[in-house]
């Protein structure tokens, strides 16, 4: 067979050796994903159709009970408990994302406008929290929100909490923890877009009589959309499954789907139900991403 030579970015090679090389480089990553993502995922699917035995063991008997339970059909008739938890998770993830975006814009513009020497110092300050473990960072909020400290005292003075009690557990503390956790995930990708912003478009919009809102939606938003959408996905998806922050700062009353899953695999020893909830969360996340993609495609042609 005649070998077909080709030039690949300046290198003289053949199609066969390119394929061989590609496989060589790709296979470690592929194997990793196969072993630690695809296979466990499939196991999860299988387990979600099994059921819990009397001592928390898995009983391999195909049934849809777990999914029915998730939809609210329990032994005592229909209840919305689980659906409320799922809905609350979506809501918390949504609010966290929106708050992070709203806070990130001014932050990114502030950093982008610093002189080059100090700009990276500011960026480092955004990243520094990552150097600390997430759980420890969340515990730090306990201190900040403790009853003796100014925040809790102020809240007590305003009559928001009873004197001598901390500001946690509460929805407020959850959002505080969540936003501080995810802010860098929005701010960093958004910053890369803001840094490259073509200010002449902003000036052109001003020159063409645009209001402040119009300057933002027509000259700034479309240019920062690439960074923004990365940030939104990086925040919304993990926020949906987050359990450390709501567990510590939200208490039992503020259960999210992440806590629910953790509980099934932990205290309740109901792996099958846990797997079913995980599947539900995964489907929900995929669906949200699908909606988001459709919506953001629309936003690019925003008029």
């Amino acid at each position: 067979m005649k070998r077909k030579m080709l030039v690949w970015y300046g290198e003289l090679t053949t199609t066969r050796s390119l394929i061989k090389r590609g496989l060589l480089f790709l296979s470690p990553g592929m194997l990793w994903l196969l072993a630690f993502l695809v296979l466990p995922g499939l196991v999860l699917v299988v387990v979600s159709f099994a059921s819990r035995g009397a001592y928390g063991e898995l009983v391999w008997e195909f049934n849809l009970e777990n999914y029915k339970r998730l939809a609210g059909f329990g032994i005592f008739g229909w209840s919305a408990d689980y659906l409320v938890i799922v809905w609350r998770s979506v809501w918390v993830a949504l609010v966290t994302t929106v708050l992070s975006v709203v806070l990130s814009y001014p932050l990114c513009f502030f950093i982008a406008r610093r002189p080059e020497r100090t700009r990276y110092l500011w960026l480092t300050m955004v990243i520094i929290p990552f150097w600390t473990n997430m759980v420890i960072r969340t515990y730090a909020w306990f201190l900040i929100l403790a009853p003796e400290l100014p925040f809790a005292r102020l809240a007590a003075m305003l009559g928001l909490v009873s004197p001598g009690s901390p500001l946690y557990p509460s929805a407020f503390a959850v959002y505080l923890g969540m936003v501080s956790m995810f802010l860098p995930f929005v701010a960093l990708p958004l910053y890369s877009s803001v840094e490259r912003l073509d200010w002449e478009l902003v000036e052109a919009a001003q020159d063409l009589y645009a209001s402040r809102l119009r300057v933002f939606t027509q000259a700034i938003l479309p240019q920062t959309l690439p960074g923004l959408s990365v940030g939104v996905i990086l925040t919304f998806v993990p926020a949906m499954g987050m359990f450390v922050v709501p567990d510590l700062l939200g208490g039992a009353k503020y259960m999210l789907v992440g806590n629910l899953i953790q509980q099934q695999f932990g205290a309740s020893r109901d792996w099958a139900f846990g797997a079913a909830i995980s599947m539900g969360l995964m489907v929900l996340t995929m669906f949200s991403l699908y909606l988001y993609r459709r919506k953001s495609k629309g936003a690019e042609v925003l008029v």
Partner: protein, 347 residues
């Protein structure tokens, strides 16, 4: 029409600093309504800053901007009846050509049917009807430039500002667009203010030119005035090639390295420079009555319609028609006639 009526622009005592750079120095200008006025100068001379001050994109440290007799210095860009064609065109990449052009009208909440009518009219005028639904990245440089022009003109600004609008076009297209721009301005009768570093462009399009250097206007006038009677060495050199000859004043003439030159007027200095354009130097087979110099061709550059000859002594640059052929080494008489020698005011 004058600078008091709608579209007339007056700049008074403009000054602008950026840090320690004095970007605009004591500039005062009057541009009557309906004039095509050009700010010409090398990069960094402050011409763009001046334009941005007029647009409201920059605040002067000192000075006033008057539009149609009204002081607009403190009005924001969004409230000035002035529109700009930006150097990079600054078209909104996510909007179609139609929506780009409609932008200013939508900002001011014009009704849809009026937007359709006005945008349609401008697109037609600039030959862009076919492009209406395209996005900027699907357009050529020339088309983008016309969209930017349409986007500014659709607002019927009292003054249209153009910031080096041709710099992204290739030479051939540029020459064509310059003529079109001139015609467009005459047809609309609006005030156009152009910023450019291209002296040919300035001369083709303008009613009047202001030559700027280091933030100051050094000479202004019609293209003919500025070209024919440059006041300084800088203006003479910046507006096309010029031969500069230095010497001492002796008996109402000039004693130079090339010999004694008669002048029409006595210079205001005792030692200084005169200029003569290459195409003003006349060529003779025999010695002329006065100001004749025996020259020897050192280099011949063929330009199609004429030759550029670099002569000894000098180097003097002479432009000659191609009906006579030259080759290096040829000898010929050059006449630097007194009425063609421009006395530069700078000593």
């Amino acid at each position: 029409m004058d600078s008091e009526s709608g579209g007339g622009l007056v700049l008074q005592g403009m000054n602008k600093h950026f840090g320690r750079v004095h970007a605009v120095r004591d500039v005062s200008l009057e541009v009557p309504a309906g004039e095509f006025f050009t700010l010409l100068g090398p990069s960094g001379c402050g011409k763009t800053t001046l334009l941005r001050i007029i647009a409201g994109l920059e605040m002067p440290d000192e000075g006033r901007v008057l539009l149609g007799g009204k002081d607009i210095t403190d009005l924001p860009a969004t409230r000035r009846q002035v529109n700009t064609v930006f150097q990079s065109y600054a078209l909104f990449p996510h909007l179609t050509v139609f929506e780009n052009v409609a932008f200013g009208l939508r900002s001011r909440k014009f009704p849809q049917d009026e937007i359709n009518e006005r945008v349609g009219k401008r697109l037609e005028m600039l030959g862009l009807e076919e492009m209406a639904q395209r996005r900027p990245d699907q357009l050529s440089g020339g088309q983008k430039q016309r969209v930017a022009l349409a986007r500014a003109l659709v607002n019927e600004p009292e003054v249209l500002l153009l910031d080096e609008p041709m710099s992204a076009l290739d030479a051939k297209l540029r020459a064509q667009v310059q003529v079109e721009l001139r015609r467009l301005q005459q047809k609309l009768g609006r005030t156009f203010i152009l910023v450019t570093h291209d002296q040919d462009e300035a001369m083709v399009v303008s009613d009047r030119i202001a030559v700027m250097r280091d933030g100051a206007v050094i000479q202004s006038g019609t293209p003919e005035e500025v070209y024919d009677a440059p006041r300084t060495r800088f203006v003479a050199e910046f507006l096309g090639a010029a031969n500069l000859i230095s010497g001492k004043v002796v008996d109402g003439g000039l004693q130079t390295e090339l010999g004694f030159l008669h002048l029409e007027e006595t210079p205001p200095w005792s030692q200084g420079t005169v200029a003569i354009r290459p195409e003003w130097i006349r060529l003779h087979e025999s010695p002329p009555a006065q100001n004749g110099i025996r020259g020897r061709v050192r280099e011949v550059i063929f330009r199609g319609t004429d030759y550029d000859l670099w002569m000894e002594p000098g180097p003097l640059r002479v432009r000659s028609h191609t009906y006579k052929h030259f080759k290096p080494g040829d000898e010929i008489w050059l006449e630097l006639a007194p009425d063609e020698l421009v006395v530069l005011h700078e000593a």
